[in-house]
């Protein structure tokens, strides 16, 4: 088949015409099926690691989940700790629960049947005393001694132990099992009292609003909140905007090669992995580090400048985060400055503006939107990210540089006590999640989301 100038009747003659408009064809060539295929993996990831965690964070924050309760279910266990809790609500019952009971039952008889205890003795016990309950060992053993054949003390002990039906430390997988055991021991309890016992012996997690009550009442939480505000404000104002602007403007007035060098240099901390970057600062601050050695000849005693006082710790925390954070603002502002037509600079210079006047009247007004952008963006990331503080001071000394996100991490994911309080940590995280979503939505409005969405032109 060659293409030669022929009549249109020839066109397509040799080609098998596909079945026009058949359904499968349309599915194959249309965009909808493809769209879902392309979206599916992303949607799964988003649901698993964004939506589910947001929902779960909210859910967890209304529980008392911790290492102790576990995250799955639990059991009912009359542990010493639960009894001591019960003592405040039901002192008498708690006392009764903690006492051992001796119940002559089939289970005990069966167990003894496997041992060397004489059979007749057991038969007599079954016949005379089946179902009897003794409040203490002495009463039970007195009864056993009355049995025929005069069992030895060792045998009496063996028998009484077989009927020891103490509920302490027993585990029950359901409420019904727990209640049956209580009834079986002859402990009289009203249904309400039983519920109280169940609540206090449950080892799993329960729903509660206690996390938020604790948070609002806590002095630590207030201090952490103030720390956070201070930290975000200082880093944002001093470095992410002001110093970033200085870097952008300063490099703007340099030849390309020089400005490229300085911008690369100040981008370097952003690219350096945080662990190494913080290590360099530790080298500066530690008691055998750079600062101590540098100041030694002037009679300053070497010390760990990073952690010796709260003030010093803050200086370093702000410096460490600020030097990293300045790079983004620097690059964003620099590209905004680059977008200003060169003629505006020439014009202002011809008009007699000094460099300072040029900065104030030409540069800064055109940076308004980038500044707003950086402020929104960095506020969010400063609120949430804590890796540099974690690595540098870990919130110290004595919690003076503990910020909200780091506190949530310490509460729920890592602390020296080892009891990770997921519920309270989630409640702390939820505060950030809500702030985050609110600010992100606000950010959408400010940066005119509509302009970014246009309809697809190909309509199938």
């Amino acid at each position: 088949m060659t293409v030669t100038p022929t009549s249109p009747a020839d066109a397509g003659a040799g080609v098998v015409q596909p079945a026009l408009g058949s359904r499968t064809r349309r599915l194959l060539y249309g965009s909808r099926t493809l769209a879902w295929l392309l979206l599916l993996p992303g949607l799964v990831m988003v649901v698993l690691f964004f939506l589910a965690p947001v929902v779960l964070t909210a859910a967890f924050s209304f529980t008392n989940m911790s290492t102790a309760t576990g995250v799955s279910g639990g059991v009912y266990q009359v542990a010493p700790s639960s009894i001591s809790r019960l003592k405040t609500a039901l002192p008498d019952l708690a006392d009764e629960l903690s006492q051992p009971r001796y119940v002559i039952d089939q289970a005990g008889l069966d167990a003894l049947g496997q041992t060397s205890v004489p059979k007749p003795l057991l038969d007599e016990l079954a016949a005379k005393h089946m179902g009897e309950v003794f409040d203490n060992r002495r009463d039970a053993e007195r009864m056993i001694k009355t049995l025929g054949g005069r069992p030895s003390t060792a045998v009496v002990k063996q028998i009484s132990e077989a009927f020891n039906r103490s509920i302490v430390n027993a585990r029950f997988s359901s409420k019904t099992a727990l209640f049956e055991a209580i009834d079986g021991l002859g402990i009289k309890a009203t249904p309400e009292q039983k519920e109280t016992i169940a609540d206090n012996t449950w080892t799993g997690w329960v729903w509660t609003t206690g996390n938020f009550e604790r948070m609002f009442a806590s002095k630590d939480a207030l201090r952490t909140m103030l720390n956070t505000v201070f930290y975000v404000a200082m880093v944002l104002i001093i470095f992410n905007t002001a110093y970033a602007m200085f870097l952008a403007i300063a490099t703007h007035y340099m030849p390309d090669r020089t400005s490229g060098f300085f911008r690369s240099l100040w981008l370097l901390p952003r690219i350096t992995p945080p662990v190494i970057y913080v290590l360099m600062w530790k080298w500066v601050a530690w008691d055998n580090g750079f600062l101590s050695m540098l100041l030694a000849p002037f009679g300053v005693a070497p010390r760990n400048w990073l952690l010796d006082t709260g003030t010093n710790a803050w200086v370093f925390v702000i410096l460490i985060n600020g030097v990293v954070g300045a790079s983004m603002g620097m690059l964003v502002f620099a590209s905004a400055l680059k977008a200003i037509p060169q003629s505006q600079f020439w014009a202002s210079e011809v008009d007699g503006a000094s460099r300072w006047q040029q900065i104030v009247h030409i540069l800064l007004p055109q940076l308004r939107w980038p500044i707003l952008f950086i402020t929104c963006y960095q506020t969010l990331s400063l609120l949430a990210s804590y890796d540099y503080i974690l690595l540098a001071t870990n919130g110290g000394p004595g919690g003076s540089t503990e910020v909200w996100s780091l506190a949530a991490y310490h509460t729920a994911l890592f602390n020296y006590a080892g009891n990770l309080d997921y519920g309270y940590g989630a409640a702390m995280a939820l505060v950030l999640v809500i702030i985050g979503i609110t600010l992100a939505l606000l950010y959408l409005r400010v940066f005119n989301y509509r302009a970014l969405v246009s309809r697809p032109i190909i309509e199938h």
Partner: protein, 280 residues
């Protein structure tokens, strides 16, 4: 960068260069000492190195007590960073295209969702993610932390790719479909090659971000078998038994080699990436 911003002849440049040099000096000193300290020793109380030594690099041959071998850590880190990058590139290029060009019901809602997630500080979800991973049994596995890291980088990736797809002329696609190609073929053979620079940039960003990541592996995969470099180095530093700053720095430099190489090769591109509204 175009050569448009020649400094004005009306203003002197050197005072600014001098000022910025002074301000940059501490940073330069920190980086210089990071490298110099790994191969030198200096006498107590002195900042001037006086002997050359390779003893700080001993960790390459001798595994520290209670710590995984540095080579295992290297492999883990490589696996973590490259897998994350692959997942991010694959899914971002797919979802970005669907959102940029295809008729999806609820497209604008999805787009708004991506943008909110992009701005949203995802690390706040870590506690819930930790519990999720424990529930599904992916806690302390590389796969788990790779999926999480990739998922958290996705909104940025999708947004970036969507923006790049937006710049591909519609007429290319129109030509493709009138030439008889299905939308899938159009995407794979006609559109994807046009956004290759974006894929390269996103890949570079995702790799660096994965290579540097600390919090996620620290929380989700702290075990010795799955340890990555950041966690390894942090645990070395936190360990009081073998305190040796120069050794830490040597491990750090070893860890930073790919970062340094990529930084030197792609400085300009990195500046565009990090200046373009990525997380900072």
């Amino acid at each position: 960068m175009a050569a448009s911003s020649a400094p004005s002849a009306n203003f002197r440049t050197w005072p600014i260069v001098l000022l910025l040099t002074l301000l940059s000096l501490p940073l330069v000193v920190m980086y210089i000492y990071l490298f110099v300290d790994t191969v030198t020793d200096s006498s107590t109380g002195s900042l001037i190195p006086d002997t050359f030594t390779l003893s700080h690099w001993d960790f390459l041959w001798h595994t520290k007590v209670g710590k995984p071998s540095v080579w295992v850590v290297l492999v883990n880190t490589l696996l973590f960073a490259t897998s994350t990058t692959t997942v991010v590139l694959l899914i971002s290029s797919m979802v970005g295209y669907a959102l940029s060009r295809l008729n999806v019901p609820g497209r604008s809602v999805l787009l708004a969702g991506v943008m909110v997630m992009h701005a949203f500080p995802s690390v706040t979800l870590l506690i819930a993610i930790f519990v999720v991973l424990q529930m599904v049994g992916l806690y302390n596995t590389l796969i788990g932390v790779i999926l999480v890291k990739a998922a958290l980088d996705l909104p940025l990736g999708i947004w970036l790719m969507k923006g790049f797809y937006d710049t591909v002329p519609w007429e290319i696609e129109m030509a493709g479909i009138t030439d008889g190609a299905s939308r899938f073929t159009v995407w794979r053979r006609l559109v994807l090659p046009q956004v290759f620079p974006a894929l390269a940039a996103l890949g570079l960003f995702a790799f660096l971000s994965g290579w540097s990541e600390f919090i996620l592996p620290r929380v989700l995969a702290p075990g010795n078998n799955v340890q990555v470099f950041s966690v390894y180095l942090a645990s070395l530093i936190a360990d009081d038994n073998n305190f040796d700053l120069s050794m830490f720095k040597a491990v750090g430099v070893f860890y930073a080699i790919p970062v340094i190489v990529l930084f030197v090769l792609f400085q300009r591109h990195l500046m565009n990436i990090y200046g373009g509204g990525t997380k900072g």
